[in-house]
Symmetry: D2
Subunit: 365 residues, 4 copies
């Protein structure tokens, strides 16, 4: 039983390989009556595009030239700019598949990539550009997330993610307003500058770098999350770990809690004008798997890009056997994925919250 659908009430099914005809998604369960047009979705996709983060140290001059890339088409479910309650299908054509020769990857597995595991699972794979395991798959998530965001806006909920750390350099402040002012999508322009310099250095060495992304969900009402298995943090964890390159997640104080005492970690409460207020947010906005009304906060470990310009030991198929070989990956690749993953993290958070909002509607029916 395959797993290309996310969500239970707000459900998104994605499709598409890196070098196939197209990728996209079908959203089933979006309420009727939301106002949305293709520009809303296109803007989200543009934020995800390679050129938009320009990790070569400056804003990529080819951004304009690539404008036609990742153009979304709404195939169904929206009429007169309003959602109909029927499935919303979104299409993104693969226009820029390079005719480069991938034949050497037909039998050889790139270290750190999913080539090997797809082969083991399916016995057959589209080896061009990683096929279904390519990061390109996330374009469909971002498109779907833009639709979910419309529902969240109706409830005044807002998701913000940013690069907290990259190539060993951590932000020293969190100024949300600076996130889109630098190419690292960091809430700290100065730290971002240092990250970019470090990235340039790493690029020259033919290597790559990891990082940490933080995500904050603002104005999430108390009550979202479905214990005991589909807890809000459990669903967010699944959503985030389903993003390639993410190797860990922690909520609130996260792994630090292992060294804290209960009296340090518990978030006490008091009343303000008859409303409950938390005195701290070590829990990251979730108690018992249900949102408590506080900001939801979590962080993600992002691994370094596995495609590096260094010779690596690996194996290839030779008949029924695997034999040792070496591989040097060619082409142009990102050095650090953080800024490009930020919109994907937001999209997945949008999808989780949209689903949980709708799921919660029958709790007290």
């Amino acid at each position: 039983m395959a797993g290309n659908t996310f969500g239970t009430v707000f459900k998104v099914s994605t499709f598409g390989e890196s070098h196939g005809n197209a990728l996209g998604c079908v959203i089933d369960g979006c309420p009727s009556g939301l106002t949305i047009d293709s520009d809303d979705i296109q803007k989200a996709l543009n934020r995800r595009k390679p050129g938009s983060t320009g990790q070569d140290g400056k804003l990529n001059p080819s951004v304009t030239a690539r404008k036609e890339d990742d153009k979304v088409e709404i195939l169904s479910g929206i009429f007169n700019n309003k959602t109909e309650g029927t499935p919303i299908a979104l299409l993104i054509r693969n226009t820029s598949q390079h005719s480069s020769d991938y034949s050497n990857l037909e039998t050889t597995f790139r270290p750190g990539h999913a080539d090997f595991t797809y082969y083991q699972k399916y016995g057959f794979r589209d080896y061009r550009g990683g096929g279904r395991s390519s990061g390109r798959e996330t374009a469909a998530r971002v498109a779907a997330g833009a639709v979910a965001q419309k529902l969240l806006e109706k409830y005044n909920i807002k998701v913000v993610a940013y690069t907290l750390k990259a190539c060993g350099i951590e932000c020293t402040k969190k100024d949300i307003s600076q996130i889109e002012q630098n190419l690292m999508r960091a809430p700290d322009n100065e730290s971002a500058q240092k990250m970019q310099e470090k990235i340039e250095e790493i690029r020259k060495s033919g290597d790559s770098a990891g990082g940490v992304i933080e995500c904050v969900i603002q104005n999430c009402p108390a009550g979202l999350g479905e214990p005991v298995f589909d807890k809000l943090d459990a669903e967010l964890a699944k959503a985030m770990l389903s993003i390639g390159a993410v190797k860990g997640i922690e909520f609130g104080r996260g792994f630090e809690v292992s060294d804290l005492s209960g009296s340090q970690n518990n978030d006490s409460m008091h009343s303000q004008n008859g409303k409950p207020v938390f005195d701290s947010n070590n829990a990251g906005g979730i108690l018992g798997g249900i949102s408590n009304g506080n900001e939801i906060v979590f962080r993600l470990a992002v691994k370094p890009v596995p495609s590096i310009y260094k010779n690596q030991d690996t194996v290839k198929i030779d008949g029924d056997d695997f034999v040792s070989t070496q591989l040097e990956i060619k082409g142009r690749h990102d050095i650090c994925l953080c800024p490009r993953i930020v919109p994907v993290v937001e999209a997945m958070a949008n999808l989780v919250i949209a689903d949980m909002l709708l799921r919660n509607m029958s709790a007290k029916a």
Copy 2:
């Protein structure tokens, strides 16, 4: 839409409140023909029982006296000690509900607990002992996990979890054979001794402590996991974050990867007798969301027990308003949850792998 069912092919639905009549589970989708009897399940439940971990510094002398606790009854699905392919229902009666007076918790919310969020979500709750949000709920998970384990045994897969760190003290070695030799379920008797001494100290201060649990899945075949959303790590993350007190998860090198370069992090491969072998396991056994045949390794952040013997600020309901109040929790509580959560982690890992094994059966059908 509620969330008390886990898994998609090997599906477990749990039920039960801390102080209701009973708790238990229904397992739907367990293959027919597995040999199992109630002793197999009882043994797993016994490992989870409070007395078995004796965090007061020595093995709890009341273990024998409590033998009747958490007694499992098989209600259906097993005939002549073999699974029938029909739903397996397991029942655990709540026999030791103390008649203690919980009435002060009817309107007051314990800090760090789910009392507040359950009230916000459902507008009504069983306040006795935490109701559905009680850790007692995990007994049903452990019972179900024992059934899943039978399926895993057939495929020679084994799950082992242990306390890696508690109250700030980390194991200095990982000797699997020592896990059941100490009350902390640590793979290091010496460190366990130090942890227990520290716990005794914390107990006297009326406080509690957190920790880290590590879990290893041995002999998991390559090919399990269902991209792009139901990746193996995504499902494990959901499973683990659905356990109360768990605030984070990381796979393989985990959050360390944020400081690594690609050349440091990639697990290179070579061939040995025609079979592929990984030279390291930074990925924790999962690539692109699919098991790669290596050991699966992940760690969990466990928060300190929220029930402490100190006065805490909180709120209570007064008509339609919340008003500030203070609360001092009574009764006897664990200090550090790690040793008791270890069997729950194993149970959830058993469930995930069992489900993924069965899901994978149609991949190349």
Copy 3:
């Protein structure tokens, strides 16, 4: 992937074999705050009990003696007679398993029963009294249906089913008030009397009889049903065909529509005080898979009881082979299932409507 869960938001998972320890269900997704106690459920179960329909021509005198049968226990999810929003587990012990010798059925398959197909599917089965395939399984459905009914009552929706035809005798009127006045659960006491006489005759001949059940859902609001696959009629059809012995379903005019013209079959409309009113109900209350506000009406074909007191040709297992044999079924059996299936039909309709009510809550969210 097994199929013992019904519904998607209001979800019921049932368990239990005819001669195992118990049967029951877990309901996940019932909204919190509904008032219900075990009497509500017990009453529904009592209506389904064998003694209550007395097909031997008069009310079975053993009804009182069997009073302990099918006693329901609420295990969880209800506190102070209110649903908590957590899983509601219901338990019914199997107390009256006769120690009769079923060993001749261990290898021989009863014609018209599921013995053969369960064996083919699972390779192993509990042959005592049909195991999981026994009609006894429906007790769990009736219990769950009683909970769903509480939700429907809140929305003023009412489900009524009755025997329309049995052993070739059809009701000549439909007087809802007479249904519980006769042992056939027919809306026509006179026809019921004739049916019972005919049944007595069939009983003496060692044979059995089929019939037709009709079900009406009153006050169902327009808008329920989820096209294009989970249409209201599609879900009702699945629900009803999942009841053993049901071999067909038709809505509104049903199979008669094959001989009608569009002008005869279309239900025209007019306005009454600004509200839409249908001039007829050939559609049976459903258009395009969505309820239209009219009464929902459908009929079910019920096959004759396969257990008859006549020698029948069948096969049994002999090593790896099947060999021809003959079988004469012993014990006491129903002659016509209609009156006993009526409460099961109502229960399943309750479950479908409850689920569809909750599913519809996110349509315009």
Copy 4:
């Protein structure tokens, strides 16, 4: 929670409105390694096209001219003519939307159509050509069914459906080889001729006609179906009732069983070369919800086309009120849907059997 996905392991999500940009589907869970190309799918779509059934009495001369209609494009999931195990997305553009003026249907509801119920459910609808409720939606089902058929071919299973009755005329023989030889898709050329003559007569009168479709599934192995809810007949019933215009289903002897005795209805068995053989097939190939190895047989009631050329009473929206009005539907419409629904019935049966085949793989794992 919407319902545009069918199946649980072999899962199909469809999208598209009658006059939107496109319709199509995403198939998730198709095993890898099946050989398929777009011609296989195109052939199935061509069989469903309007022109192909020519109900005006002779093969529609515009068939060639419409060749570009319903052209399928494979967007993903198939590489080198082999399924990859990843989602298969299929796209069919809406090229022939007439610019006809549907504005009179914006507020007026066609009798017998879903216009009214969609409006009630979603509060907003695409009124052009029925929007999502249009029969055009079934093109996506047929495309998906063609992929499922590839899996069935691997297991030697074959689905055949045909018009058994139309406008009151029933076939007098069932010669499978004649089905594609006449425009009614009837297994009896002579009866088909009479049906067509009758249809021509009805057309002239401005009315429409219903019918009955029968479906046979050959070589289905014993063991498919998932009791107690997802029985094979229950899933087939859901699948078929999800097709617009289908108002009833019956298996094997169907509604006739209500008049049979058990001794007449039970299918006895004997052994032939050590294999079990049924002496009759009143059950229609299913016992206890599981296939028994016999041919699966069911019939469907098809209602007359609701679009007729006669003035009909209906209502329209006027502000917040509904007011009485009359409507005469324009344009060109089918008279009897049977021949066009036949391929849809086959497609849905293909989907059910494919899903059940894959679901059954874990039954004895």
